[in-house]
Amino acid sequence: MSVSHEVSPLIRPRSKILTRFGRELNWGDFVFRRTTALLAALVIAVLAAMAAAMLHGSAESMAKFGLGFVSSQVWDPVRDVYGALPFIYGTIASSLLALCFAVPISLGVAIFLSELAPAWLRDPVAFLVELLAAVPSVVYGLWGIFALAPWLRTTVEPLLASTLGFLPFFQGQQRGFGMLAGGIILAIMITPTISSVSREVLRAVPGELREGALGLGATPWEAVRVAVLPYARSGLVGAAILGLGRALGETMAITMVIGNRSEISASLFAPSYTMASVIANEFSEATGSLYLSALAEVALLLFVVTVLLNILARLLVWRVGRLPLGGNL
């Protein structure tokens, strides 16, 4: 949103000046401002408390394992030894896989909706794409268990194995549940995010650029390619990173289809485990303070990474629309 923050000069300065010249303070205004400020501070307080709670919770595990926590593959509650590498790998691999599916599709959707589709089609299709985001995660998980995974097992994975089976990605037992299912379900869930942000970004591109390209005789696609996309590039990267942030933190759907086995395998057919999944599966039955602390540290890692990605994405998206017309091309 680029709403101007300017306030009519008639209003704000007046009260300031009059207060300075000894006008009686309006108590309603005073209370109103203080109350809303207090509740606004609540937003900061909750975020800070969230970070503090996870730091506090994971202190024991951090003291015990140090940096080894992120490089060790052993996760053994019985011996009370915890290393999060398989989960970190599973989270990153499934999210990147999801991006591979979701970015081209979302970009296609965004270009279709903002550049190519006839005007009457835009709003209904955009609404449908946003409905994709409205379906609860657990419903996607249910669908993943009983519709997606069986389809992958009986149709997609045999096909991939027979055509591309020489690659290490497409070898091993075909179960349906595994990295491929996880990546696909994440891709479905982040497509609405990436495409709606991309659409906003494309909309922020000045119309003159398009008109200029079209006026020089470019076809609609050439206009998009030479004039719109270069201008929007950083915003589109931001949209993808925003999608990545969502994919990393997504819990239920992926827990239900990724197989939940803490091993690192190159094969997309093999089961894996993500950071969010291990928390969801083990937190409520974790006994022992070190076990809980290790899970809290996983949560802390997830929290820090998603927060950083979000900040980066917002900076990138925010830049578009502030670029000078001739700049950055």
Binding site: A37, A40, L42, F112, G141, F146, P220, W221, L302
Partner: protein
């Protein structure tokens, strides 16, 4: 020479346009498939007893999810109660006085918070409430959902208030109304339908949330009294039933998914129907 080049450009234009259409169709296939599966498998599980009875143990037929349905409504109601007022107030602050450095930090925190994974919110509320009270409760679940709603409500309120024409405020102030009344009675009221839309979308989102409830509201096969007991909810029940090995529980999970999906879609569609009537519509 020129004409062949022209043809090539036309062809590549056509190819890319078709690819974009294809991508859009591809993106919508899962939506259609999910709706089809949930309706076709869930419909047979919907009966009067689904809405009026408690779940039966495995092996016994019949039974319903009345407690989970009520539980979900309870949790969502609590979340609205705890999440909407501070969210709207924070949004009003940002729109009215948010040009300060403090305002920037609030805005930034809200943006960051909206990207925080819901499962970490669950952990946060677990250590904040469940560890202190020593038991799972609807109250804890409601707080978790409220935390998830807070940033969305805040930013929606701010954005919609800023769309209200400044002349309305000037008119009110010109009539001698104090600033707080001008904000509440003129600005906020004008923006209200738009804010309601945003709030309903936020409610629809948290109504389907599972992860933050796993270790806050937990689950309960029986009715829970009041807000201080573990409480069943539709999303958590769907999860527990879906990953169970029992065929009849899978059936129940589909039925519950249908009810949940209808609830969420209803909220979404009605939220969007509100938009055109609002002055602040985008």
């Amino acid at each position: 020479m020129i004409s062949s080049r022209y043809t090539r450009r036309q062809v590549s234009d056509l190819v890319v346009r078709s690819a974009c259409v294809l991508a859009t169709v591809l993106a919508l296939i899962p939506l259609v498939s999910v709706l089809y599966y949930v309706t076709s498998r869930g419909l047979s599980g919907i009966s009067l007893s689904f809405f009026s009875e408690l779940p039966k143990p495995v092996g016994e037929s019949g039974g319903g999810m009345a407690n989970a349905l009520v539980g979900t409504l309870k949790l969502v109601f609590l979340a609205c109660l705890l999440g909407i007022p501070p969210g709207v107030a924070a949004g009003v602050y940002l729109a009215e006085f948010g040009h300060s450095r403090f305002g920037k930090w609030v805005r930034f925190s809200a943006d960051v918070m909206s990207g925080v994974p819901s499962i970490t919110v669950g952990i946060f509320v677990y250590s904040l409430v469940v560890l202190q009270t020593k038991h799972f409760s609807a109250f804890a679940g409601g707080i978790a959902l409220a935390v998830l709603m807070l940033p969305t409500v805040t930013r929606t309120t701010e954005e919609l208030l800023q769309l209200v024409p400044e002349s309305l405020r000037e008119a009110a102030l010109g009539l001698g109304v104090p600033q707080w009344r001008a904000t509440l009675r003129v600005m906020l009221r004008t923006a209200a339908p738009g804010i309601a839309t945003g709030v309903m979308l936020a409610v629809a989102r948290v109504a389907g949330e599972t992860a933050p409830l796993l270790f806050t509201a937990f689950s309960n096969p029986f009715w829970s009294n009041g807000l201080n007991e573990p409480t069943a909810s539709l999303p958590v029940n769907i999860y527990n039933y879906a990953v169970s090995p029992y065929e009849e529980w899978h059936q129940k999970a589909w039925a519950a998914a249908l009810v949940l999906l209808l609830l969420v879609l209803l909220l979404n569609v009605s939220a969007r129907l509100l938009v055109p009537r609002s002055v602040g519509a985008r």
